[in-house]
Symmetry: C2
């Protein structure tokens, strides 16, 4: 039997850990997931994930695992650590790459979840044709990854691309990062929940339910999406003035709302874009299946190294 080289991709989210084995063509040949919060101790998560990967690897019949890429909130490519992630259980600095390397005995590389998504889009998704693009992940929070001249931007310390933590409103909404007015407190699943609560103070609806209401034509729910798109469109127009990308790619759960979100976002993006950039910047959505993109992105950390 021909041995197929595989890479493990792991996406550590606040709620779930998704993991898979990926071949060079970007096919996920095996995948699984488990809840994140059952592990008070991060090293228990590592042995659980590593165990699953080893079993899968054996059952597929390949022993040629090239390495493991891990995407996580506040994951730092340079240090291999998760550093002070506000939305995770584990506080301080967690040596993720080191722990997975010990468990799997293979090269392990870490980056933040949005950077992993950007690499996944570049290798396998909507960003393939572009050297300069920005990916925006709209999940519980707002993450971002920047490509400049064909390269992912890490910045001097590995923490580039935190657009979710640009302050768009002085003394605005309280953010998990300890400051106020961050973009992600408005433009994210949790942001739209807060926007809707401002419109309907008694509400305890979650993003999915607000989407449902909006789909049925509910005025306040529609307004919550319009407000979100208005702020996101402006933020994206501002982002263009930094790196002049050819495309911005939207990704993540909130994007499933489709035109409810995309139409006002595109409208306010167009309205606020400097005329130097008008008509030049595509606003696209991810072409990867959401559950796969995080795994593909994490795995591409290793595949990209292999192809350099």
């Amino acid at each position: 039997m021909l041995q197929q080289a595989l890479v493990a991709g792991i996406d550590i989210g606040g709620t779930n850990v998704a993991l898979g084995l990926v071949n060079k063509q970007g096919d996920i040949v095996w995948k699984d997931s488990f809840p994140t919060k059952q592990f008070d101790d991060f090293s228990l998560l590592v042995s659980h994930a590593a165990g699953k990967i080893e079993v899968a690897n054996r059952s597929i019949g390949t022993d040629h695992l090239l390495g493991c890429g891990i995407g996580a909130p506040n994951g730092n490519f340079y240090s291999g650590c998760i550093e002070y992630a506000p939305n995770l259980l584990w506080k301080g600095i967690i040596p993720v790459a080191k722990l997975f390397n010990e468990a799997l005995q293979q090269p392990c590389v870490v980056t933040n979840d949005a950077n992993a998504a950007a690499m996944g889009e570049k290798l396998y998704g909507a960003a393939k044709p572009f050297n300069d693009f920005i990916i925006i992940t709209l999940g519980t929070g707002l993450g971002s990854g920047l490509y400049v001249h064909g390269q992912l931007v890490y910045g001097h310390d590995g923490f580039a691309g935190e657009l979710g933590h640009t302050i768009i409103e002085v003394n605005g909404r309280a953010c998990g990062c300890g400051r106020r007015g961050c973009l992600e407190t408005y433009c994210s699943a949790s942001g739209i929940v807060r926007t809707y609560q401002e419109l309907v103070p008694s509400s305890s609806l979650q993003a999915q339910q607000i989407y449902q209401l909006a789909s049925e034509g509910n005025e306040q729910a529609l307004k919550a999406f319009t407000i979100t798109g208005e702020k996101l469109g402006l933020a994206l127009a501002n982002a263009v003035a930094y790196t002049s990308p050819e495309a911005i790619i939207l990704f993540g759960g909130l994007v499933q709302a489709g035109n409810l979100l995309l139409q006002p976002t595109q409208e306010h993006f167009n309205k606020n874009l400097h005329n130097l950039y008008r008509g030049k910047v595509k606003l696209l959505t991810s072409t990867l299946k959401e559950s796969d993109a995080a795994i593909l992105g994490a795995a591409s950390l290793i595949w990209q190294k292999e192809t350099l």
Copy 2:
């Protein structure tokens, strides 16, 4: 006599054109300037500048001119043109590199004035030690240039680094670009004039006079600087979340105000910086003489090509 290779550097500003001859060490061996607005026709400016360069070149006794770098508002590195510069006399698209090439019979390269300043700082100034930095030019407007991983960011179309045209206030001050609320309408020499006018509606003072008043302890003038620093500090803290630079370097006329501007800027930069970046990002001022930096920066467009 030993022939010294020289490069011409030209900075086309809204008010003055500065030009010089620069050797590889970054010494300006000759410089001159003339007012911009006397030339309704851009080709007359080109022949005037080229004539001065040729005379200087002959009088220095070198015939080894390697090329000419030109910095200009809305200068596009890729196209070699000034494109739709709101603060210049000439409208539309001006083929600057082509016209200078015809006049000088040497390779001519164009970029925007802030990118040229960034390259000058990287080759000869305060940015020498840094691979990831942002330069902010505070003149009549606010320009910027971004270095990522040791390379100047041009973006897909040559127009990266227009932070002066990020909208910081919805429905804010009218900007020359046709939109409202752009950063440069607050944080620039013209911005501080408008801020002071909001405090003292009868004022017709220019930035230099507001500085003079503030130096003498005038309350409203001091307040104008504080407000400017407050908005600039926040904008710079937001900028860090994009490319995670090691330093931000402030440059241009307004920086001459020293601590009147720098102290509130630093204070609000610190206050608004995400804790991931705290204590890691230096806020510096240019170490180049202002009249020289633009020439050096423009010349470095050619010197950088020579050293690649």
